[in-house]
């Protein structure tokens, strides 16, 4: 039956064939290996590296802010927070419930979380708790495994040691929101959670922030760090060194006390801001970590408007404080002369007009014959009505523009208001109406449509003090660390009072000196007993419209419509070292009694420390 020879041959052929097929398949595999390992090597190496190497951005340390004496006004503190990665959890509410069994989470925390969730940066974790204590850090750490979507983050957080006392001078930072993120250099901010929101923090954001660093780390499949492969250190942000003198700031703050108002002091020789107070203020620190909506609403709805930066963003009628400037304009334009006298019966009438424009001084009988010098000292409105009428609004506008009114002073913040210096052209454009001569009269005494910022007033007063040079106001004096400082030189402002005839300037300055020292000076009482010469001008401005949108409390309406008291001045008279504006909102009485005494104390404090000559 069986044929061993045939069967042996058959088997041998089949075995050979099978062996050949196996060999071919093996060769096919080798070919595929050759393709993967030799031909596609580069591609797979790149993929392998992408697998294992993650690049972790490293946040630079934000630059600090110092006053001129080296006092730290903005610093960085280590703060631990718990953050939730929304992408890693399905039910956030349940997560927070469970988390609250480990760490106390207040209603405020929850509300703030909900709020930030609405305006978060995509893919970024949102803090549920900030400023954890050491004990809380430990409490969470032992329970970490239960919360894969929650991470403990230690980071340097901006802290403002003096809270509300400097908030309006330096601004503050807050968490980056979606809108800001869109506009940012996202690569450079890859590790940064906060950004300057207001003030210097915002204006110098790039300088303060620095440049991001990178760390290349090898991670395993579970994303655990295996080792650090490469590190490019971040470049820390530069420090800001301010002109600001914190002692003067404290002095100014204590002068104002509970009153609402502004005190700004500058160095007339370079425009450096020595003190910048807007009262009341508020503590910016909760804004850094995230403020709860209740506290925010309380701040936002307070009738005192503490979040409103009166010094930088507030516009007020300048009132009589601009009479020296107007007098100079009168002299320069030739509409008045030193010897020219005007009869002041207590009112002024436009030729051919029935209406009587009252002198706001309460001298019912008027001052009689008044010359330019006297008109400044006693703040005679009639004289300035007459001068303004003859000058006309557009000449007035032209000269006042050279003093910087109607434009920003160039302070190194973004929020500065430009105020309003009216002209006939402005009225045509903005109001679609012709200019009436009567309106010139109001502007001629610093009222009417004219709205100025305190910065404009102090800057233009400094120009009178230093002989006609207007500097851009600057908060920051230098950037960088102590031994590598980059000074920011003083910059002249765009519009200048070119070539003021010295005799005109002297006339106005003398008058301002007599406001302070003269027998009839409106600020004489405030400055009695000083052992240096000062110059200034008081003002009392009617509140035409309240400067901000705060809600009015019916019981306080009366108070809110009271006059604002102003004083601008400088000292020492011959070699000015400080120019100052004081503005106190809604007071009884004028600038002589309400603002000038504050200015005197601020000047005293500064000269006490820096010498009188």
């Amino acid at each position: 039956m069986k044929d061993p020879v045939t069967e042996g041959g058959l088997f041998y052929r089949r075995a050979l064939m099978a062996g050949a097929v196996v060999l071919i398949l093996f060769l096919a595999l080798v070919g595929r290996l050759f393709y993967l390992q030799v031909l596609s090597y580069e591609e797979y190496v790149a993929k392998a590296d992408r697998n294992r190497i993650s690049t972790i951005p490293l946040a630079p340390t934000r630059g600090l802010i110092y006053d001129r004496n080296g006092v730290v006004l903005a610093e960085n503190r280590t703060s631990f927070s718990l953050e939730v990665m929304l992408e890693k959890t399905r039910d956030v509410d349940a997560l927070i419930e469970e988390l609250s069994s480990v760490i106390t989470i207040s209603d405020d925390d929850r509300e703030r979380f909900a709020q930030e969730r609405r305006q978060r940066r995509k893919g970024r974790a949102i803090p549920i708790r900030t400023r954890l204590s050491e004990k809380e850090v430990a409490q969470f750490s032992v329970n970490q495994h239960r919360f894969p979507a929650v991470s403990l983050r230690g980071q340097l957080i901006r802290h403002y040691p003096f809270g509300e006392q400097f908030v309006h001078a330096i601004g503050y930072v807050g968490r980056i929101n979606d809108r800001e993120w869109e506009k940012l250099d996202q690569a450079n901010y890859a590790a940064t959670s906060h950004i300057g929101k207001v003030g210097l923090e915002r204006f110098y954001e790039q300088v303060l922030h620095g440049a991001v660093g990178y760390q290349e780390i090898e991670t395993d499949v579970h994303d655990r760090l295996v080792r650090v492969l490469n590190r490019v250190a971040p470049i820390d942000g530069k420090d800001l060194h301010l002109h600001l003198d914190s002692e003067l700031q404290f002095a100014a703050l204590s002068m104002l006390g509970e009153q609402r108002g502004v005190i700004v002091a500058i160095d007339p020789n370079d425009g450096g801001v020595l003190a910048l107070v807007s009262a009341p203020g508020f503590d910016p620190n909760p804004f850094v970590t995230g403020i709860d909506s209740l506290s925010y609403r309380a701040l936002n709805e307070s009738p005192d408007a503490p979040m409103f930066n009166r010094a930088i963003n507030g516009v007020y009628p300048p009132g009589s404080t601009v009479k020296p400037h107007l007098a100079l304009a009168g002299l320069m334009s030739g509409v008045t002369q030193p010897s020219r006298k005007v009869w002041d019966p207590g009112w002024y009438q436009l030729p051919g007009d029935e209406r009587k424009y009252r002198d706001f001084n309460w001298h019912l009988g008027g001052h009689g014959w008044v010359d330019l010098h006297t008109s400044i000292i006693i703040s005679c409105d009639t004289y300035f009505y007459d001068m303004a009428n003859r000058m006309g609004i557009d000449v007035l506008h032209d000269y006042m523009q050279r003093f910087g009114f109607g434009q920003k002073t160039g302070l190194d913040v973004y929020e500065e208001a430009s105020g309003l210096l009216p002209s006939s052209e402005w009225k045509r454009r903005a109001r679609k109406q012709a200019w009436y001569p009567g309106e010139t009269l109001s502007v001629g005494i610093g009222q009417g449509y004219w709205n100025a910022t305190s910065l404009q007033l102090v800057s233009s007063t400094a120009a009178l003090a230093n002989g006609g040079k207007r500097y851009q106001l600057q908060l920051v004096d230098a950037l960088g660390v102590m031994d590598n400082r980059q000074d920011l030189p003083a910059q002249l402002a765009e519009h200048q009072l070119n070539a003021i005839p010295p005799e005109h300037l002297k006339l106005v300055r003398d008058a301002m000196k007599d406001v302070v020292h003269g027998a009839r000076g409106t600020a004489r009482k405030a400055f009695t007993g000083i052992d240096y010469l000062a110059a200034g001008k008081t003002g009392t401005a009617q509140v035409a419209s309240y400067a901000q949108d705060a809600k009015y409390d019916a019981t306080k309406v009366e108070e809110r419509f009271r006059d604002n008291a102003l004083f601008v001045g400088y000292a020492p008279y011959d070699k000015p070292k400080i120019a100052v504006i004081v503005l106190v909102e809604n007071v009884m009485g004028g600038g002589g009694s309400n603002a000038a005494p504050l200015a005197r104390r601020v000047i005293d404090a500064y000269l006490e420390k820096n010498g009188r000559d």
Partner: protein, 373 residues
Amino acid sequence: MTDFASRIHTHKERHNLAWRLHLDTTLLTALMLLMALALGIVYSAGGDSTVNKQLARLAVGMGVMVVLAQIPPRILKLWSPAIYLAGIIMLLVVEFTGVIGKGAQRWIDLGFFRFQPSELLKLAVPMMLAWYFAEKPLPPTLKQIVVALLLIIVPVVLIAIQPDLGTSLLIFASGFFVLWLAGLQWKLVASSALLAAAAAPMLWFFYMRDYQKQRVLTFLDPEKDPLGSGYHIIQSKIAVGSGGLYGKGYMQGTQSQLEFIPERHTDFIFAVFGEEFGFLGAVLLMVLFAFIVWRGLYIASNAQDTYSRLLAGAITLTFSVYVIVNIGMVIGVLPVVGVPLPLVSYGGTSSVTLLAGFGLLMSLHTHRRLLSS
């Protein structure tokens, strides 16, 4: 006896201890080399405890191999139907009472030992078919082919419904190889291939589980599901490809050491090998496998009776199927099916079965002159 003895003594291997233990030195050397390599790479992929366990299993496997090598082929042949029958019965037992393991019924729990009857079938099926054809004139008749196919299909189906696609595939292959080596007519090979092609859609719709279908779909387009089942293929290709010509060095494979390769010490161990030893290392490993296959086919060709030939050939070809399917899967030319890299992948039963198979091969080889007389 003296006659036999003189024959043995005239053989050049007569003083060889291995020969006296009925071991084939050539095959043994190749296997030892392979296992040494395997332990090295298992250590790289799995660490101390894994390699120790594997060492123990390989020792058990070697023991089984040596023991089986002592059993003369005629005894093996005599027992073949009984072993096959026992295997089928155990499969049925598993089907009804089996212990659940890895989501599929595959085990019999003997208390001290978990036994996987499907592993036994890997050897029992070719033994049974070799037995069936042993005394028949070859090539087989159509009727014999049908009987043989039935003998194959029954265990294949029983294992397929466990479900264990990889094993049933290997068992089908082992049976089919006997049939093929027995001289299955070409037109029947062709028509069964057609039949298989026709059965594939049926298999797809009526047998395959969703995850298995997913694996096939993923194989066709791995990038479609990079985090799911495509992950295996993508990652193992990255590991192998990034190994380059020379490899990253032993224990230096970032993808394997950083655990990006899934199942890196079991089914995907070749990816670790390819990454750490590169193309040259992988080719060397392929050469070693090829050498073992060549030796197996050499043994089969030199066997002196039909049973030995068919069994030796089927065991060898099945071994090569392991190699081709596993490596093909790891380098992305075949779908992911649970087939280990023979003797290299970490895993107990498959190593023991494979070594048992080599034990059979050695028995067939070393006893042949005794039988021939």
